[in-house]
Amino acid sequence: MSRITERIIAAKRRGGAFIPFVSAGDPDMATSLSIVLKLAESGSDVIELGVPFSDPMADGPTIQRSSQRALDNGVTLKDVLDLPAEFRKQRDIPIVLFSYFNPILRFGIDEFATAAAASGVDGVLLTDVIEGEAAAISARFADDGIDLISLVAPTTTDERLAAICRNARGFIYAVSRAGVTGARETTSSAAEELVRRVRRFTDLPIAVGFGISTADQVSDVWKYADAAVVGSAIVAEIEKSVSPDDAVRRVEEFVNGLLPPVAKGVDEN
């Protein structure tokens, strides 16, 4: 069982796992490291780190702008890969890189797998690589001990769910609704139905993401899934910040309001 899987299962025993997302390099790489360390301190079980991309077609405006700020700062995939190595010196929480395919393809799939593993990356999620394309990449990543995380959506048929789950590693990322990333008022009932369908095909933990931004939504997701992913709502706090320190403080405050007291302070390190 991979570190990611173990960690989520352990967190689920206490209620549920919390997986925050931030774009690497927004507002800058040094602040991203501080934010990620703060997230680790504040009850995160796995941290998703977004690789900035010029054409984030699956993302809503908040993450688009965040990605663009990172690119405007000259952040590259190589810079992003330095962060887990620094983070590892202080914390042991699994890190999943969240990327579009092209930056990885340009870096070289082999070179990327080697560099990511050396940096301490545990998993990679490729937004625009679907089942069918994923098998060869997943096998290559596995050679370096990296889990290629699979996404499923409410539109995914049972036949595809079976195929996706057969090759899945780490956890299954269930997209809560048809749409792009971004905070919404309510979580759709489609998410619960999807999680129920996925359960029939795998024992891996299931995380629900897209549109989750409140404490109520997190605890609601934990009722039927193993983990809740919160992205845009955290990124929006970073966007509002007036300084690096303010960004870290805002993220901490926001996450404290998101998680019930029992889930906090359980980082074993």
Binding site: F107, V129, L151
Partner: protein, 398 residues
């Protein structure tokens, strides 16, 4: 060879599907919907009827006598897609796809547009069938093609400006994909070029192949033989693949002309096959791609909004690697000069996109013999570009 992609939509290593998981089911639905009508005589009868009576096909294959004589080389024929209803080849694909969307029961149509020609054609077929229409267009393109924005609105479409990235075609496609992923149940994405995830490159090429089928019959009727060379501009690549495809198994030379923009530096042009283009994945398909060393998509430039795109249809990438089609480029200056030349010698004002093809014809025709036959795809008319050209002429003191 039949030049068909495999079941996953690959021509060689190019094409495929690189999309968020949510879009797989609608793309599967689209693929099975398309394959259900692809060989259906009823569908084709309806398609042909509209092409003939609504679009005005077949479009003429016109011998450009004065242009040919002025250049003093090959005999140049123009495939007059500019005479189609709405003024460009884009309508061919829109008729095909709207008939498919209707059969699939979709009531809401979305599209992206660069120069506005595809947006206008989409708005037109939506008006024809009384369907809701939303067109995404980069704000830079809205500025450049103001007249087409107004035309779309006149036709009842909602035009949504896209203010991200370079504010051009690429960004409009991103936004259309975001709309589609959000509204998959109700919405049909009417993509305008031979681009994007499978089955779009195949489907758009099929619908546009009417251009090449007609041209092939017409040249045989007029000249009693096949042409020596075909020339067409290549943005995403739909007008060129439409002309080329029916000739692929013939001994005919083919040249796709990309936008050379204002220089060879990355960011100054949209010539994907020049040195800077490397294979990558953008907007659902694997193809040649203008990108930087970190895999970020490069900005592009062309005086013509319709060629201003960082990637190219996957079938072109395959034909390029097979050496079946040659690819050249014409820069902004050449295209503007060709725009004037065709206007003055033939009384035909070409679209700036098509002017790139004309520019290349002007370059190579004099080196050919008077017995050689060339067909240039005049993919659109230039009325929409008159303001832009006027501005460019003022800048250059022409």
């Amino acid at each position: 060879m039949n030049y068909e992609p495999n079941e996953q939509g690959y021509w060689g290593e190019y094409g495929g599907r690189f999309v968020p998981e949510t879009l797989v089911a609608p793309l599967d639905e689209l693929t099975s919907g398309y394959f259900a009508v692809r060989d259906d005589p009823g569908f084709h009868a309806e398609f042909q009827d509209l092409l003939q009576n609504y679009v005005g096909r077949p479009s003429p294959l016109y011998y450009a006598k004065r242009l040919s004589e002025t250049l003093g080389g090959a005999k140049i024929y123009l495939k007059r897609e500019d005479l189609n209803h709405t003024g460009a080849h884009k309508i061919n694909n829109c008729i095909g796809q709207i008939l498919l969307a209707r059969r699939m029961g979709k009531k809401r149509i979305i599209a992206e547009t660069g120069a506005g020609q595809h947006g206008v054609a989409t708005a037109t077929v939506c008006a024809l069938f009384g369907l809701e229409c939303v067109v995404y267009m980069g704000t830079e393109d809205m500025r450049r093609q103001e007249l087409n924005v107004f035309r779309m609105r006149l036709l009842g479409a909602e035009v949504r400006g896209v203010d991200s990235g370079s504010c051009t075609l690429k960004d409009a496609i991103n936004e259309a994909l975001r709309d589609w992923v959000t509204n998959v149940d109700t919405t049909y994405y009417l993509l305008g070029s031979a681009l994007g995830p499978h089955p779009y490159p195949l489907m758009v090429r099929d619908f546009q192949s009417v251009i090449g089928r007609e041209a092939r019959d017409q040249i045989i009727e007029k000249e009693g033989r096949l042409p020596d060379v075909l020339v067409a501009c290549v943005g995403g690549g739909s007008n060129s693949i439409g002309l080329f495809h029916p000739f692929l198994n013939d001994n005919v030379r083919m040249i796709g002309v990309e936008a050379g923009g204002r220089g060879e530096t990355l960011g100054e042009h949209a010539a994907r096959f020049m040195a800077a283009g490397r294979v990558g994945v953008l907007q659902g398909t694997k193809s040649y791609l203008l990108q930087d060393n970190d895999g970020q998509i490069a900005l592009t430039h062309s005086v013509s909004a319709g060629l201003d795109y960082a990637s190219i249809g996957p079938e072109h990438a395959y034909l390029h690697d097979m050496n079946r089609v040659e690819y050249a480029s014409a820069n902004d200056e050449d295209a503007l000069a060709a725009f004037s030349t065709l206007s003055e010698t033939e009384g035909i004002i070409p679209a700036l996109e098509s002017s790139h093809a004309v520019a290349h014809a002007i370059k190579i025709a004099p080196e050919m013999s008077a017995n050689d036959i060339m067909i240039v795809n005049l993919s659109g008319r230039g009325d929409k570009d008159v303001n832009t050209v006027q501005e460019e002429f003022v800048k250059r003191n022409i």
